[in-house]
């Protein structure tokens, strides 16, 4: 049952007042979740091959005495921390995949006030924090009424279409009343909406019977360059906000051989699904026209597509998150998500994504997290969980 504004404040205020105590306490006991961040971060976990990292997560769930530690058919690891009443549940989720291939040396360096290594922020830290929540709550003497459903979800990034999160939500046995996606990066992040997103790959091939004497004949690199010029002519509206990113180009392998094939990766994000649909049609037309005019084979494959989604800026969950952040000394930065949050909101769950600490060189092999702000980031998460538990975040 929704509660009145005045009751919300009277319930929230003690939680906000407790934030400094929590930050101090978490700083004293931080080693166990930092350890998990290192141990998990050093296990390669590329999208579609997260098994080794997931197995360790499931082991940790068991070691921590959680109920029903499970690896489901989608590869997600999950477990439940039972609440004192258990009438409802809160879903806490962190993606287990990272952008780095197993060939990259997954080695985390630990300094006095930082950690550096591929994927430590995105998302070994988020994952370690989710695993550590039961012990953090215990150390802080917090007993929740709700069950806490902890999930390490797979297949979140790149070509994956949030398959892990969607799969978990479709088969989840305990209905949740709210959700939080936990990301290592970056402190202050507040996502309560998901952009409409389209990810695709355009492949250009020079056919074996290509007429190299024809006017304008060229190898795949030149052809792809021409194709990119056509794509850049697609008008991109300022309102609704829309972005086209050409994120990857693979073509050729030597100095003196004209390549016969190339591949272009792109992503369109927009506040309106119709804009994405229109741009997808234009891309298709460009590919067809270019193919016909140049004698090349151009094909477009859509690898991920998600609809826009949002809860209101005035939703109690968002308002409470902002209040908690401000009290913890964190400046909220609204940042629409293209990640797992979409799956939660589209699944009908009020949900937000928060980040845990300040990060440098995100998604580079020298990705670095700062340890000093991390305790505030974790405190924000725990306080928000308490607020949801107490019904403060319900409409």
């Amino acid at each position: 049952m929704p509660i009145e504004q005045i009751d919300r404040e009277s319930l929230l205020n003690p939680l906000l007042e407790d934030i400094p105590r929590k930050i101090e306490k978490i700083h004293k006991i931080r080693d166990f979740f930092l350890t998990d961040a290192v141990l998990l971060g050093e296990i390669p976990s590329p999208t579609f091959a997260e098994e080794n990292r997931i197995r360790v997560v499931a082991d940790r769930f068991r070691e921590n005495g959680l109920h029903n530690p499970t690896i489901d058919e989608f590869g997600n690891a999950s477990a439940v921390l039972p609440g004192s009443e258990g009438q409802s549940s809160i879903l806490i989720m962190a993606h287990a995949d990272c952008v780095f291939s197993p060939e990259i040396r997954h080695e985390i360096q630990v300094g006095s006030d930082f950690m550096t290594g591929p994927g430590i922020a995105d998302n070994a830290l988020g994952l370690a924090t989710v695993i550590s929540l039961p012990r953090l709550l215990e150390e802080l003497n917090i007993q929740l009424k709700d069950n806490l459903i902890l999930v390490a979800n797979t297949k979140s990034l790149g070509r994956a279409n949030l398959e892990g999160a969607h799969g978990f939500l479709e088969t989840m046995s305990l209905p949740a009343k709210a959700g939080i996606c936990v990301e290592g990066s970056t402190l202050g992040r507040l996502s309560y909406s998901g952009l409409g997103t389209l990810r695709g790959e355009i492949t250009l091939q020079i056919p074996s019977d290509y007429d190299w004497m024809r006017f304008g004949a060229a190898g795949a690199i030149s052809q792809l360059t021409g194709l990119v010029n056509h794509i850049r002519e697609i008008p991109i509206p300022k309102e609704p906000k829309t972005k086209l990113v050409l994120g990857g180009l693979k073509c050729g392998s030597s100095y003196n051989t004209s390549p016969k094939q190339g591949n272009l990766k792109f992503e369109i994000t927009s506040e309106e699904d119709e804009v994405i649909g229109s741009m997808e049609s234009q891309l298709n037309e460009i590919c067809e026209q270019f193919s016909a005019e140049t004698g090349t084979h151009v094909s477009m494959e859509i690898v991920a597509k998600r609809k826009k989604c949002s809860i209101a800026f005035t939703h109690p969950l968002v308002k409470t998150t902002r209040s908690v952040m401000q009290e913890a000394g964190i400046t909220p930065q609204v940042d629409p998500s293209t990640g797992d949050l979409n799956a939660l909101i589209l699944g009908g769950l009020p949900a937000v994504t928060v980040g845990l600490t300040t990060v440098e060189n995100l998604r580079e092999i020298n990705e670095t997290i700062q340890l000093a702000p991390l305790c505030s980031g974790i405190t924000q998460l725990i306080t928000l969980i308490e607020a949801i538990d107490q019904g403060i975040c319900e409409e």
């Binding site: 350890t35 290192v38 040396r105 630990v110 300094g111």
Partner: protein, 326 residues
């Protein structure tokens, strides 16, 4: 020629995965009333010491109380080694300040030796500070045989040792000094010790009551001397060895390995001299022994290497005839 596995190899060679149940191990330790100390000797190791202290302390003292005491003993680092180690909760000591009345010598062996005085455990586990893929198995894999088997006093680590180049990892086998120097020397003079797969590994655990009775070379010879001295005192049965899977460490230059080999040879020949093996040189062994791991089984390969010799050519009649004719 391939010889079947030796019985010691079967009995006293473990894989760390056999000891995954840390709760059980802690109970066994407590039941026997054992205390375990962990020592990391350091000299300018700020890049790796933080992770070692964080992970080993958090997992093996906080989560599972297997280790009772954790110390970093330093030779006088000029970087932030001590600060980083202390930040993550290690007890930090300068070797020069332990037993000051015996003076200060600079070398890893000095730190290991003074650890016996400084630390209180019945078992002392030594772990090098330059392991970039540190994991709790580097400790529990070594102390577990000592907890479970009273007749074992000294446990050595062995592992795959890929070298850490800027371009990535490359395989290395048992370590270059081990393969080129130590294994042939052991095969010649102490063939039984050839069962120890990586005699120079920097990770080992031992009981206080054996460590306190043997001398410690200060420099590169400390691991070699431990093995030779304990073998002379207690025989092969006092040893065990544990496969720790993989250890990533920094590459050393050939010059550095040459210096290490020189130090090890000094220690080795000192022991040969003390044991009368130089004065009464035995017939040298002709069997060279090395190891192979296949499907998790350890197998010693024994190969006869007989260095036959030809006389000077001038002593050969046919040669002299040809020379005379030309």
């Amino acid at each position: 020629m391939i010889k079947q596995e030796e019985s010691w190899l079967d009995r006293n060679t473990f894989h760390h995965s056999a000891f995954w149940d840390l709760i059980k191990l802690v109970k066994e330790k407590e039941k026997k009333g054992l205390k375990i100390s962990l020592c990391i000797p350091t000299l300018n190791e700020e890049k790796t010491i933080g992770k070692e202290v964080l992970i080993l302390r958090s997992e093996l003292m906080d989560r599972y109380p297997l280790v009772d005491e954790f110390a970093v003993i330093d030779s006088g680092s000029e970087d932030r080694t001590l600060e980083v180690a202390s930040n993550y909760g290690a007890d930090v000591y300068l070797a020069s300040e332990i037993l000051p009345e015996v003076g200060n010598k600079r070398g890893k062996g000095e730190n290991l030796w003074k650890a016996i005085h400084q630390l209180k455990g019945d078992i002392i586990c030594y772990v090098d500070a330059d392991i970039s893929n540190i994991h709790p198995r580097f400790v529990y894999g070594l102390v577990a045989p000592l907890i479970q088997r009273d007749e074992i006093s000294y446990v050595k680590a062995f592992y795959d040792r890929p070298l850490n180049y800027s371009s990535g990892l490359r395989p290395s086998g048992g370590g270059r000094v081990t393969e080129i120097l130590i294994r042939p020397l052991f095969a010649l003079f102490y063939p039984e010790l050839s069962h120890i797969i990586q005699p120079l590994s920097g990770e080992y655990a031992a009981r206080r009551d054996v460590l306190e009775k043997i001398p410690f070379p200060i420099g590169y010879g400390v691991e070699t001397s431990h093995i030779l001295d304990l073998y002379a005192l207690h025989g092969l049965e006092t040893f065990a060895q544990t496969d720790l899977d993989r250890r990533v460490h920094r590459n050393q230059t050939t010059n550095a390995l040459g210096k290490m080999s020189f130090g090890i040879l000094q220690t080795f020949f000192n022991r040969l001299h003390q044991q009368g093996k130089l004065d009464r040189m035995p017939d040298l062994e002709t069997f060279y022994r090395r190891f192979e791991v296949e499907d998790g089984n350890y197998r010693q390969l024994v190969q006869e290497v007989v260095e036959e010799e030809r006389p000077p050519m001038i002593e050969i009649k046919g040669y002299r005839n040809r020379q005379d004719a030309s």
